[in-house]
């Protein structure tokens, strides 16, 4: 059962990778990398269940947070060309 889920996740990751490479705009690439991150998170959890090792869920939890922070940071960088303080952006600082 979990092996089937792991296989499906692998195929989904491959498809997201194709979109990451082929994505015309930079936003498609950010989106694809975010999708791959989520699938890696689920893959870690599934493998944790496959090998009867519940510690993997901690790794999946941390991965979920870091994936979010990374995607938001890249999005902000692409939007504002720098990650600096928004003071000089005439109120455009928020995402």
């Amino acid at each position: 059962m979990f092996a089937a889920a792991a296989a499906a996740l692998l195929v989904a990751m491959a498809m997201a990778l194709v979109r990451a490479v082929a994505g015309p705009t930079v936003y498609d690439r950010i989106l694809a990398v975010n999708a791959i991150g989520t699938k890696t998170l689920l893959m870690i959890a599934v493998v944790g269940f496959l090998t009867r090792r519940p510690e993997f869920l901690d790794i999946a939890l941390v991965y979920a947070l870091i994936n979010f922070i990374g995607t938001v940071a890249v999005t902000k960088f692409v939007k504002h060309r720098h990650l600096g303080h928004p003071a000089n952006l005439n109120g455009e600082g928020e995402l």
Partner: protein, 108 residues
């Protein structure tokens, strides 16, 4: 009897979750525009992961694992829409206009 039922339920949930993930990623691949793809991956993150995690939840008897799984689900349900929103606003700010039906070039 109950164990068999639980196993069957978790089987169904996990396979349904995998199916939703595959369809969502197919949407990411096939849809014409960034904003439509955002819908595809958004669905994958929340629905697909939700079903998968629920399937795993039924498999565990240890409450600590269940708490971690529910936490993963909560974090994903919160962060996934946030990233989609941030990405969409960045794309609009960057001048990307949503896809119109009139933009259809090759398909019939």
């Amino acid at each position: 009897m109950i164990a068999g039922l639980l196993d069957m339920a978790s089987w169904g949930l996990v396979l349904a979750g995998s199916l939703v993930i595959l369809v969502g990623t197919l949407g990411l691949l096939r849809l014409p525009d960034l904003f439509t793809r955002l819908h595809g991956t958004g669905m994958t993150d929340t629905m697909g992961a939700g079903l998968l995690v629920l399937g795993m939840l039924l498999q565990t008897t240890d409450w600590l694992i269940a708490v971690k799984l529910v936490l993963i689900l909560v974090f994903l349900a919160i962060t996934s829409p946030t990233t989609s929103h941030a990405l969409a606003s960045a794309a609009l700010y960057g001048g990307l206009t949503p896809w119109r039906l009139s933009d259809r070039k090759d398909e019939p």
